[in-house]
C-alpha cells in the first residue's frame, strides 16, 4: 500500500456517484462510509491508545441528539447538529473520561458500557427534552437524492481518516501507542497518561458524534433505543475495527466493508432466510480465530489463504 493509495481510493469513491448507482447502492455506500467513520474514531481510542470502549453509542447518540434537539426545540436545521455536536461530544467525553479513564483494561470497557446504557435511560426519561421513547423525527429530509449525503459523509470519512493518520504519525501517536503497550512504563517516562488518554477520547468522541449528527440528518428519525443501542452501535463498532484490523489505517474501512456490505449481502441471499445471522456469526468466529488481528492486521495469512501473493509494499 503506497502513500498515494488513500488519495486514489478517495478519488474513486468521489467519482462513484457518476457511474449512476441505484439509490439502494448509494444507501449501502453511505452506511459503509458512516461505519468507517465510527470505526476510525474507535480505532484511535482503542486500537492506538489501547482504551477499549464498549460505549461508543454514547457519543453517537449524543451527536444524533444534539442535532435532533436543536432541530426540535430550537427550530434550526438539523445540519447545525454537526458543528454543535463537536461541543456536545467534547463535553461528554470530558465527563465520561473523568469518570472512566481512571480505570484500566476490561474495567474501562465495562465502565464505558455502563455510561452508554445510562445515557440511553436518561434519553428515555427526559421526555420534555428528548421526546422520550417517541423519538425525534425530521419533518422532511434535505435531499431526496443521495449524492449530497454521500459527499458529506465521504468528506467526513476522508477528513477523519487523514486526521487520525496524522495524529498517529505524530508524537501524540507514539504517546498513544506507548500508553497502550504499557501504561506504567509510559507514565514513568514522563508521559502524562491521563492527559493523552483524555485527548484520544475527545477526538474519538467528536468524530463519532459527527457521525451521529449525520445519522440524524440522513435517517430523519432517532429514538433512544436506536442511537444508544448497545449491540447495534457499540458492539458493532468494536466488530468493525476488530474484524478489519486493530491499529491499522485501513482496518476500520475494511471492517466496515464486511460488517455493512457483506452483512447486507448475506442478508439478501434469498434461500438463507432468517438463518443469515448464523451464517454471519460463524463468519465472524472464523475471522477472529484465523486472523486474531483482523483482516488488515493479518493480511498475510488472508492472502496466503486465498493463494494470493503478498502485495508489494
Amino acid at each position: 500500500m503506497n502513500k498515494y493509495s488513500p488519495f486514489l481510493l478517495l478519488g474513486l469513491l468521489a467519482l462513484l456517484p457518476f457511474v449512476g448507482l441505484s439509490s439502494y447502492m448509494m444507501h449501502i455506500l453511505i452506511l459503509f462510509l458512516m461505519w468507517s467513520v465510527i470505526g476510525i474514531a474507535w480505532n484511535l481510542l482503542s486500537g492506538y491508545c489501547g482504551q477499549v470502549s464498549f460505549g461508543h453509542a454514547a457519543f453517537f447518540g449524543i451527536g444524533a441528539y444534539t442535532a435532533g434537539i436543536f432541530y426540535a426545540k430550537v427550530g434550526i436545521s438539523a445540519w447545525w447538529g454537526m458543528p454543535l455536536s463537536i461541543i456536545a461530544s467534547t463535553i461528554a467525553a470530558l465527563v465520561i473520561g473523568y469518570i472512566c479513564l481512571r480505570l484500566r483494561g476490561p474495567f474501562f470497557a465495562l465502565a464505558t458500557l455502563a455510561m452508554g446504557m445510562i445515557l440511553k435511560v436518561i434519553a428515555e426519561n427526559l421526555t420534555d427534552f428528548t421526546g422520550g421513547d417517541i423519538g425525534i423525527m425530521l419533518q422532511q429530509r434535505t435531499w431526496v437524492d443521495k449524492t449530497g449525503y454521500y459527499y458529506i459523509i465521504l468528506a467526513i470519512a476522508a477528513i477523519s481518516f487523514f486526521v487520525v493518520k496524522k495524529i498517529v504519525e505524530s508524537k501524540l501517536g507514539y504517546y498513544f501507542v506507548a500508553i497502550r503497550e504499557d501504561q506504567d512504563a509510559a507514565e514513568s517516562l514522563g508521559i502524562n497518561t491521563t492527559l493523552y488518554k483524555t485527548i484520544a477520547l475527545c477526538i474519538s468522541a467528536v468524530i463519532t458524534g459527527i457521525a451521529g449528527a449525520f445519522y440524524m440528518n440522513y435517517m430523519g428519525y432517532i429514538d433512544p433505543k436506536v442511537v444508544f443501542a448497545l449491540h447495534d452501535i457499540s458492539i458493532i463498532t468494536i466488530m468493525v475495527v476488530m474484524v478489519g484490523g486493530v491499529a491499522t489505517y485501513w482496518g476500520p474501512v475494511v471492517g466496515s466493508l464486511i460488517m455493512v456490505m457483506l452483512a447486507e449481502l448475506i442478508r439478501s441471499i434469498p434461500k438463507l432466510g432468517e438463518a443469515h445471522h448464523t451464517f454471519f456469526g460463524v463468519l465472524l468466529i472464523l475471522i477472529i480465530i484465523f486472523m486474531p488481528n483482523g483482516i488488515v492486521g493479518d493480511f498475510r495469512k488472508f492472502a496466503k489463504f486465498f493463494g494470493v501473493r503478498r502485495a508489494q509494499r
Binding site: L31, N125, G132, I134, V226, V254, E264, R267, S268, H276
Partner: protein, 395 residues
C-alpha cells in the same frame, strides 16, 4: 493494490446479487422483522401474508397475474428496513410497499416511500405521528395508538365507572403513546390518575411498582405492554393480591395467545383493547382464523389479521389502478373502500391524520381461559363479567 482488487470484487458481486430479477408475476417483497426481539410479530404477519396470497391467487390473482410474495428480514433496525425499501423502490421498481412492524422501522420506510413517491401501506405500526407528517403516499390500515384505548375507555365509562386509575406502561413509543391516550381519556371522564409509572420492557420484577399500586388502591389498573410483560404483570398482581375493580390492558401483550398460556389463571377476567378478534362478524375473519389455527395451532393476533387483510387491500387497489405506476396505485389506494376480514378499510384525512383508516376498537375479556369479545355490545361474543371477584374469592 491487491486489496483493492478484492474490495472491488466484493462490490461487484454485491451489484450482481442486487440486480433486478425479471418475472411475469406481480412480485411483492415484504420487509418484516424475522429475527431479533420483534421477530414473534414478524412471524405472525409472515404466515398471514402467505395465507392471504394463496387465497388471492386461488381466486384468479390480480388482473390475470399471480401475486408472488417474498420476505426480507429487517432485523428490527431502521437502517436495514430502509436498505430493503431503497432496493425495492430503486432497483426492483416495486410500485407499492407493504409491511414492516415496529414504529421505528415504519417511520424509516415511510420517509423513503414519501420521497420516492411510492405508496406505502402501514400494517401494524401504531405510533401516532407516522400519519401526522402530511405524507401523501403513506397509508395506514391499523388504528393509531391513541385510538387503541377507545373501546376500553368506553367500557370504563359505561360499565366500570371508576374514579381512580393506575397507568403502567413500558418504555417504548408504543407504551408512551398508549399511556398518553389513556391519560387524556381519564381526564375527559374525570378519573383521577393515582399511579403513572413507566417500566423498562423485559423487566423481571414488577413488585416494587405493584406494591405502590396496591397502596394507592386504584379502581382500575390500565397497563400498556408490548409482549410478555403483560403476563408477568398479571402473575405478580395475583401474587400481591391487588384488588382493583378491573384490570385492563392496552392491546399488544394482553391480546396475544401467549398471554393466556403464560399467565393462566392470573389472566382471568382481564380485559384488553384490541383491533380485531377471530370472533368478529367481519366477512372472512373466522375462515382466516381457522385456517391459521389449523396450520399453526394458535389463533392469530390482530397483527396477523391486519397483515392478512392488507394484502387484500393492496390487491384491490392494484385491480382498480389503471396501470402499475405508483401514481395510479396511490390514487386507487386513496379511493379504497373495502370490507375485509379486518373490518372496513377506508383511508381518511381527519383529526390531523392523513390517509388513516379509522377502524373500531374492541374490548376482549379472558373468560374461562379464552378471549371473548365483550364490547361494543353489538359485536360481543359473550356478555361481560363485572364486577370481577377478588383474588381471595377466586378458585
Amino acid at each position: 493494490m491487491k486489496r483493492f482488487g478484492i474490495m472491488l470484487l466484493i462490490v461487484s458481486i454485491f451489484c450482481l446479487v442486487a440486480a433486478p430479477v425479471m418475472a411475469a408475476n406481480i412480485n411483492l417483497v415484504i420487509p418484516l422483522p424475522l429475527t431479533g426481539k420483534q421477530a414473534k410479530f414478524g412471524e405472525i404477519m409472515k404466515r398471514s401474508y402467505e395465507i392471504a396470497v394463496e387465497e388471492i391467487n386461488a381466486k384468479g390473482g390480480v388482473k390475470g397475474q399471480k401475486l408472488a410474495i417474498s420476505f426480507e428480514d429487517s432485523t428490527g433496525k431502521p437502517e436495514i428496513a430502509r436498505s430493503i425499501v431503497e432496493k425495492l423502490i430503486g432497483t426492483k421498481k416495486q410500485p407499492i410497499i407493504v409491511g414492516e412492524y415496529t414504529s421505528a422501522c415504519a417511520k424509516a420506510v415511510a420517509a423513503v416511500a414519501e420521497e420516492r413517491k411510492t405508496p406505502y401501506l402501514v400494517v401494524a405500526s401504531a405510533d401516532d405521528n407516522i400519519t401526522q407528517q402530511k405524507y401523501k403516499y403513506v397509508f395506514r390500515q391499523n388504528a393509531v395508538n391513541s385510538h387503541y384505548s377507545d373501546g376500553v375507555a368506553d367500557y370504563f365509562k359505561k360499565i366500570v365507572k371508576p374514579s381512580t386509575i393506575a397507568i403502567l406502561y413500558e418504555s417504548s413509543a408504543f407504551g408512551t403513546s398508549g399511556a398518553e391516550a389513556m391519560r387524556k381519556d381519564a381526564k375527559a371522564m374525570g378519573i383521577k390518575v393515582v399511579v403513572d409509572e413507566k417500566y423498562e420492557a423485559g423487566s423481571v420484577d414488577f413488585k416494587p411498582i405493584l406494591s405502590k399500586v396496591k397502596a394507592a388502591k386504584p379502581d382500575v389498573v390500565y397497563m400498556v405492554s408490548y409482549v410478555m410483560d403483560a403476563s408477568l404483570l398479571m402473575k405478580q398482581i395475583k401474587e400481591l393480591r391487588i384488588d382493583a375493580k378491573q384490570f385492563a390492558g392496552g392491546a399488544a401483550g394482553f391480546a396475544i395467545p401467549e398471554f393466556l398460556q403464560n399467565a393462566k389463571d392470573a389472566a382471568e377476567y382481564v380485559i384488553s383493547a384490541t383491533l380485531w378478534t377471530e370472533k368478529l362478524k367481519y366477512p372472512g375473519a373466522k375462515e382466516y382464523a381457522n385456517k391459521y389455527k389449523a396450520k399453526y395451532g394458535d389463533f392469530p393476533s390482530y397483527h396477523g389479521a391486519s397483515a392478512y387483510a392488507s394484502l387484500y387491500v393492496v390487491a384491490d387497489a392494484l385491480k382498480r389502478a389503471k396501470d402499475m405506476q405508483p401514481e395510479s396505485i396511490r390514487a386507487a389506494m386513496k379511493a379504497t373502500n373495502l370490507m375485509t376480514a379486518f373490518g372496513p378499510v377506508k383511508f381518511e384525512d381527519k383529526e390531523g391524520y392523513q390517509n388513516q383508516n379509522f377502524n373500531d376498537t374492541f374490548v376482549i375479556q379472558v373468560q374461562k381461559g379464552v378471549f371473548e369479545t365483550i364490547w361494543p355490545e353489538n359485536h360481543a361474543s359473550k356478555k361481560y363479567i363485572f364486577p370481577v371477584p377478588t383474588w381471595k374469592d377466586r378458585r
